[in-house]
């Protein structure tokens, strides 16, 4: 159960080897989380992540999850919820990809970052609604607000997911389940390794701290760092001819 401060006791991570997701899991385990379920493609990284969280004191389960195999999501997550209530679901699956104008690669990015994440979020939202309480954290991106040349395919998928999550939040209003949309800026992770950082670049740990603070508040959307909320409010209105020339 989430307690009076909305600190959860159990956590399901969809895309369980993402740097941001693991930083968040680590932080929440230091508070009240005692059960962690990592849903991801089986890999050495997944095993290592599970071991690390176990050492930190959590009971950790891993579930094989393939974002694009949407017809399997119901069964995979059904078993997770059958094993006990999940207080927070963190949907963090996504691929940045390259921005070569390759239709097959672009479709793959969308299939994981948008379609897979949306399907997983819906399956989990229904399970949360049945248990009558919980929070669904959807990892979006500031790119969802205004795509840049460097990431527009990924940005378009996050824009779709972001819009979906906002609508879902309204659908779930009054159900005891809330949705928290998280829009980080450039985060130094293995996904962005080697890329030139954009202004206001941040770290997975900073995103984790912001997610924890967001869960404790009644916020529906948070930006990381927080100043990006104001920055994006301005950038949204910058003419394209100028936006195109901005750094990053």
């Amino acid at each position: 159960m989430n307690n009076a401060f909305r600190d959860p006791q159990s956590l399901l991570v969809v895309g369980g080897t993402s740097d941001i997701a693991l930083a968040t899991a680590r932080l929440l385990v230091r508070r009240r989380v005692r059960r962690v379920v990592l849903a991801a493609r089986p890999s050495g990284a997944l095993t290592r992540a599970a071991d690390e969280l176990r050492t930190a004191g959590a009971a950790v389960e891993t579930v094989a999850f393939e974002a694009t195999a949407v017809s399997d999501h119901e069964k995979a997550f059904g078993e997770v919820f059958a094993g006990g209530d999940i207080d927070v679901v963190l949907v963090a699956c996504g691929v940045l990809g390259t921005n070569a104008l390759d239709p097959v690669k672009a479709a793959e990015i969308a299939a994981v970052t948008y379609v897979g994440a949306m399907s997983a979020a819906l399956v989990c939202a229904n399970a949360l609604r049945e248990q009558g309480h919980g929070a669904l954290v959807v990892l979006s991106s500031v790119a969802a607000e205004r795509p840049r040349r460097a990431n527009f395919v990924y940005a378009s998928a996050k824009a779709g997911l972001d819009a979906f999550a906002q609508g879902l939040a309204d659908v779930l209003h009054g159900s005891g389940v809330r949705v928290l949309v998280v829009r980080p800026g450039f985060v130094h992770t293995k996904m962005t390794e080697g890329l030139p950082p954009a202004p206001f670049a941040t770290t997975p740990d900073a995103v984790a701290v912001a997610i924890h603070a967001g869960l404790r508040s009644r916020a529906g959307t948070i930006w990381v760092p927080g100043v990006l909320r104001q920055v994006m409010a301005v950038l949204r209105h910058v003419p394209r001819a100028i936006f195109r020339r901005l750094p990053g």
């Binding site: 159960m1 009076a4 005692r34």
Partner: protein, 427 residues
């Protein structure tokens, strides 16, 4: 039948459940037997501060239609949904009073049993359960069992937070009173030692102190009271004020709390003696309808703990005063020897209850640190108030927990009675 989002009095962590309002014990039994996978819990007037009377995704039975009662001789037989306020109102003109009343009268008999509530007279009279001659418990298989003190099921039910079954009826022994008036002595105390000395030296039946935990010294006001032969006034009055539904958050902060505590202390006379109606003494906050709304949409948390006499109380008070987290008037009482309820809260020593805005920065970590100090002193927190305790802290606080679990497993092997509190604390 309707789905509803339910929260406790602190208005934190709501969850959605199917709410049934049975009009008879038979309807109640049917509701329990058809509860489904996520179980059922009884709810009364919703005055538990945290999550014991909610059951996310399951069934909540609202007991307030089962509210009849009858006074014959000196025994009061009341249904589980009867409120203590209604009972007091009926008893007072007949020169009777409830032996134990908590800080609000908006509590049902079932809730008073399940939380094993205590009053300002615990050293003299014990907790609510000490005055229950017998009670009827609707168990998981839909049968009503009559329980009496001495039976394991009785002592698992008193203080058992509704997890052994639904209390459908209780037989109580009211006490005789000369009039519905109390003689109250109010005394201003300049620091915590003064407050403790004043409470320790009190020979009055009822005693309570209001403590200013924002002042380093821990100054306070001690009210002692006894029943009296006095002018007959109305025992209970209706609310004077009510708080609007949409209050903004953040009204109660360190500065407003300090100001309020200062004014409260300043208005108290150094020493005074006067007579007061029952309600004004026992339930001052009931005069403000929906007072919990003043904390705004984030709600509030009440932290009530008990520690044996010794240094435990002061160490927790100092920790809270130093933290800078705003706390409004804290209520300090003495507790007498513990009763037999396996999860009953009172143990001999001090009990302090503090209200905090739930969104106060640093509060979650402060209260976790207080838990450790309380455990170190051999104390515990009160489950009827709790909304944030960690499950691993519970066994150290309640040595009766293992026995409670055994009795509960016998009474309810399938775990039909469930609540958000039970899930959170892995009861």
């Amino acid at each position: 039948m309707a789905d509803a989002l339910l929260a406790g009095w602190g208005r934190t962590s709501p969850s959605r459940a199917r709410v049934l309002r049975p009009g008879s014990v038979d309807e109640l039994a049917a509701a329990v037997q058809t509860a489904g996978r996520r179980g059922v819990i009884a709810r009364g007037l919703g005055r538990s501060y945290g999550d014991p009377a909610q059951n996310g995704g399951g069934v909540v039975v609202d007991l307030t239609r089962l509210r009849t009662f009858d006074l014959t001789g000196d025994r009061l037989v009341a249904e589980g949904g009867a409120s203590l306020g209604e009972l007091i109102r009926a008893l007072a003109p007949r020169g009777r009073f409830l032996p134990v009343v908590p800080g609000t009268r908006h509590v049902t008999v079932g809730g008073a049993v399940a939380a094993d509530v205590h009053g300002k007279n615990h050293p003299a009279d014990g907790s609510f359960a000490a005055h229950v001659e017998e009670l009827d418990l609707l168990t998981a298989e839909g049968m009503v069992r009559t329980l009496r003190p001495g039976e394991a099921a009785f002592h698992a039910t008193t203080g058992g937070m509704g997890l052994t079954g639904v209390v459908t009826r209780a037989v109580l022994r009211p006490i005789p009173i000369g009039s519905p008036t109390l003689l109250v002595e109010t005394r201003r105390c300049r620091d915590l030692d003064d407050v403790l000395a004043c409470l320790s030296g009190s020979t009055a039946r009822y005693a309570v102190a209001w403590l200013d935990c924002l002042s380093e010294r821990g100054r306070g006001i001690v009210d002692q009271a006894a029943h009296t032969e006095g002018p007959v006034t109305a025992a209970l009055k209706g609310p004077l004020l009510s708080v609007p539904r949409h209050m903004p958050g953040g009204l109660l902060n360190r500065h407003t709390a300090a100001l309020f505590n200062h004014l409260w202390y300043g208005k108290a006379p150094r020493v005074s003696v006067r007579s007061m109606p029952l309600g004004a003494y026992f339930h001052p906050l009931d005069r403000i309808r929906d007072w919990n709304r003043i904390y705004g949409p984030d709600g509030f948390v009440q932290y009530q703990f008990a520690v044996p006499y010794g240094e435990g109380l002061k160490s927790v008070v100092r920790r809270i005063a130093r933290s800078g987290v705003p706390s409004f008037l804290a209520v300090l009482k003495r507790l007498g020897p513990a009763g037999e309820g396996l999860l009953s809260f009172p143990i001999e020593g001090w009990t302090l209850a503090l209200d905090f805005p739930a969104a106060a920065p640093g509060l979650p970590e402060l209260l976790d640190a207080c838990d450790q100090a309380v455990i170190g002193a051999g104390g515990r927190v009160y489950l009827a108030k709790d909304a944030r305790l960690a499950p691993e802290s519970l066994p150290a606080m309640y040595p009766g927990l293992a026995r409670f679990r055994e009795v509960r497993a016998l009474l309810d092997p399938a775990g039909v009675f469930q609540s958000d509190l039970a899930r959170r604390l892995r009861l």
